[in-house]
């Protein structure tokens, strides 16, 4: 075994922590996707572009001299209304149509958003500076950017807040009821139209938070939204809908898997490995399902 990672145990620690910290952030985006997928049966291709837009909101604040970390409060508020407006303008027309139509519609939204962001913010890659410094562990051999720790912490706080909100609040219960059976919820007096708009808004707000965090941990560019969509899609596929702990675990798991794939297979296979894993999981699930079906026969 001539792998660097097995020679240097500290690398293993570094890789694990990097993977987990980033994974939590991805899980937040994925949770938004799972939520609206579960409630509205819409796969939102524009998910990543909402994230990037949220990031640009934080970046704009940074340019105005405000610390970009405040973006985790401002960005979701603005993004909630963006999501809400998006629902009223486009999504409400496709919400009860088949999945393919909604994929097309959100794909269109993604393109419009990319061009708009390009138009407003320019095509340059930008970063916001948090100046949070670095935490060093084990005699400086493991370094963790505080911005990553901050982003994982904020993601967790928001995720927990959301779970509580979904369990306790009136709207949260209405959302869950609609997800279970929209028609029954409607008969029982739930204004599903309102629930849908709120769900889409909440999803956009989650994207806004993630975007603000990405502006201080990674980089922003109008056209880098798609990888975030794909990754959250993958996390949701692995975790299933409407199960937050599973989403968090699968987010972290994918983050870890990716880091280790980097060390063992090579950086060029990093993203390829994640896709292979997805294929494997889908095949495995099918296999399990087909077994169940036989049993039912």
């Amino acid at each position: 075994m001539d792998f660097l990672i097995f020679k240097a145990p500290m690398l293993m620690v570094q890789a694990s922590l990097d993977g987990i910290l980033l994974g939590i952030l991805f899980a937040l985006i994925a949770y938004g996707m799972a939520l609206q997928w579960g409630v509205m049966n819409i796969i939102n291709i524009a998910q990543g572009d909402l994230v990037i837009l949220g990031g640009y909101i934080a970046y704009t604040m940074y340019l105005a001299g405000i610390h970009p970390a405040w973006g985790v409060i401002v960005s979701p508020i603005i993004m909630y209304f963006v999501g809400w407006a998006l629902y009223k303008l486009v999504i409400n027309k496709v919400v009860d149509r088949d999945l393919f139509i909604s994929i097309l519609a959100t794909f269109g939204i993604a393109i419009v958003f990319q061009q708009l962001m390009n138009f407003i913010f320019g095509a340059d890659v930008v970063v916001a500076q948090s100046e949070y410094g670095t935490t060093m562990l084990f005699d400086n051999s493991v370094t963790l950017p505080n911005s990553k720790i901050f982003s994982a912490f904020i993601s967790l706080v928001y995720a927990i807040a959301l779970v509580v909100y979904m369990k306790k609040s009136r709207l949260g219960r209405a959302i869950r009821a609609t997800a279970q059976n929209a028609r029954a919820a409607k008969i029982l007096g739930v204004d599903t139209e309102k629930v849908y708009a709120a769900t889409f808004g909440i999803n956009a707000a989650l994207c806004g938070i993630a975007g603000a965090l990405i502006s201080i941990t990674l980089t922003l560019h109008p056209y880098v939204g798609l990888p975030y969509t794909v990754r959250s899609f993958m996390i949701v596929i692995v975790a299933g809908l409407g199960n937050l702990p599973a989403v968090a675990i699968s987010g972290m798991g994918l983050g870890l898997f990716e880091e280790f794939a980097d060390y063992i297979l090579g950086t060029e296979f990093r993203i390829g490995a994640v896709f292979m894993l997805l294929v494997f999981i889908l095949v495995y699930r099918r296999f399990k399902l087909s077994k169940k079906r036989e049993y039912l026969k």
């Binding site: 660097l4 240097a8 500290m10 690398l11 570094q14 890789a15 990097d18 980033l22 061009q115 390009n118 138009f119 320019g122 095509a123 340059d124 890659v125 930008v126 970063v127 500076q129 670095t134 060093m136 400086n140 051999s141 370094t143 950017p145 911005s147 990553k148 990674l218 980089t219 560019h221 109008p222 056209y223 880098v224 798609l226 990888p227 794909v230 880091e259 980097d262 060390y263 090579g266 950086t267 060029e268 990093r270 993203i271 390829g272």
Partner: protein, 413 residues
């Protein structure tokens, strides 16, 4: 009657068509204008560099036109450019090139922005035997296909960071060095990588990390952790602006100590502005810098170009603009030497180009690449909070001394 009417219509359309084709075949030179065509990225992901390119072209057109234009056959002509927006999309760029040539009758082309788009257009201009002078496609593969009508004023991608390895070896007392490298998986960055491989072979240096970053990746933490563990003498990174910004962010956050850091796209990424002091000591490859002492009679020297460009467009010219302006100087020179608008004569004149512009010396090699101009390296240096790019290599143009090795993060304020 009906038949006669049909015949009449056919006849008229035939005549109109013929006239249309005839007039378009003269469109290369309309009255006193020499019409050039260019598909350029005004929207999409390359739009900022596309605009830099267009500004460079326009600046040169205005300058040449106001200074007497192009003299062919005793008559003075002016340049005019037809632009189409290629939306940063290679397929669209190829379509537009076809449209420029077939519908607009353009006989001379200027290149688009980026290697990828130039690669999409080159087969089209080659097919119609249209001479194209391009200023923004550096990928080595453009110059190995045997294209006869493609001329590039810039140095090919594999030369970008070769100098950096030589410099590292020099600083190591002439002994081979250990190289760690991370390159994005795209045509340009991989060509830069090939250049490093050549340089490593030449100097006997070893490559201890050779990461290829997927295009979607915006996190280099794993690569940098490896760098930390293996302690190379030089770290080379190339992944366009995203790669440069990600690298500096994570190197500073992870406190990666490496004696020398060489990159591409620092100026396009506005590295010294966006990352400030964190980017200090980074060594960057560039096609051009305003401090170089090249001269021509249209723009004077680099400093004057810088000043004039700022006055006209309100920002300092990146090298993408400078090389684009140079492309028009090359065309002017070729037209005057060919003393004709015959495409093949112009092409032969281009082939024989040997001139100096404010941007650098230009002479085309067998593949169409510019072989007369070396790449330069600058280093980001900071005074207080303001950081600047200082030319450090090659020594002929160096305005400052190369700072080596980079101080450890624990010693940096």
């Amino acid at each position: 009657m009906n038949k006669i009417a049909k015949l009449f219509i056919t006849l008229i359309s035939a005549i109109t068509l013929t006239i249309a084709t005839i007039s378009s075949s003269f469109a290369k030179v309309e009255g006193e204008y020499i019409v050039l065509g260019s598909a350029i990225s005004l929207t999409g992901k390359y739009s900022s560099n596309g605009v830099h390119t267009q500004n460079g072209y326009n600046m040169a057109v205005d300058r040449i036109n106001s200074m007497g234009g192009v003299k062919v056959g005793g008559k003075s002509y002016k340049f005019e450019i037809i632009y189409y927006d290629d939306e940063s999309n290679p397929k669209r760029a190829a379509q537009l090139a076809e449209r420029l040539i077939k519908q607009d009758g353009v006989h001379y082309m200027l290149g688009p922005y980026s290697s990828g788009l130039t690669k999409a257009i080159a087969p089209v201009t080659e097919k119609y035997k249209i001479p194209m002078v391009e200023a923004n496609g550096a990928s080595r593969s453009l110059f190995t296909k045997g294209y006869k009508y493609l001329f590039a004023v810039l140095s090919p991608a594999n030369q970008y960071l070769e100098v950096a390895i030589d410099l590292a070896v020099e600083k190591n007392g002439g002994k081979p060095v250990k190289i760690a490298q991370a390159f994005e998986q795209d045509a340009f960055s991989q060509d830069v990588r090939l250049g490093i491989l050549d340089a490593a072979k030449r100097t006997g240096s070893t490559i201890i990390i050779d990461d290829k970053l997927p295009k979607e990746l915006n996190d280099m933490a794993a690569t940098l952790a490896k760098v930390k563990a293996t302690k190379p003498d030089v770290l080379v990174v190339s992944g366009h602006t995203k790669g440069a910004l990600t690298a500096i962010r994570q190197i500073s956050e992870m406190k990666v100590d490496v004696p020398m850091l060489a990159m591409t796209h620092c100026d396009a990424a506005k590295l010294s502005k966006q990352h400030g002091k964190k980017s200090e000591y980074a060594l960057c490859a560039s096609q051009w810098h305003k401090n170089l002492s090249y001269k021509d009679k249209f723009f004077g020297g680099g400093k004057k170009y810088d000043k004039d460009f700022k006055k006209e467009f309100g920002y300092a010219p990146p090298y993408q603009s400078a090389e684009s302006s140079a492309a028009l100087l090359v065309f002017k020179d070729a037209f005057e030497r060919a003393n004709s608008f015959d495409r093949d004569k112009v092409r032969d004149a281009l082939k024989a180009t040997d001139m100096q512009t404010f941007y650098g010396n230009i002479k085309f090699g067998p593949g169409g690449q510019n072989v007369a101009k070396p790449m330069i390296l600058f280093q980001v240096r900071c005074k207080g909070d303001t950081c600047e790019n200082k030319v450090v290599a090659p020594t002929k143009w160096a305005s400052d001394k190369f700072f080596h090795p980079i101080p450890k993060w624990s010693e940096r304020g």
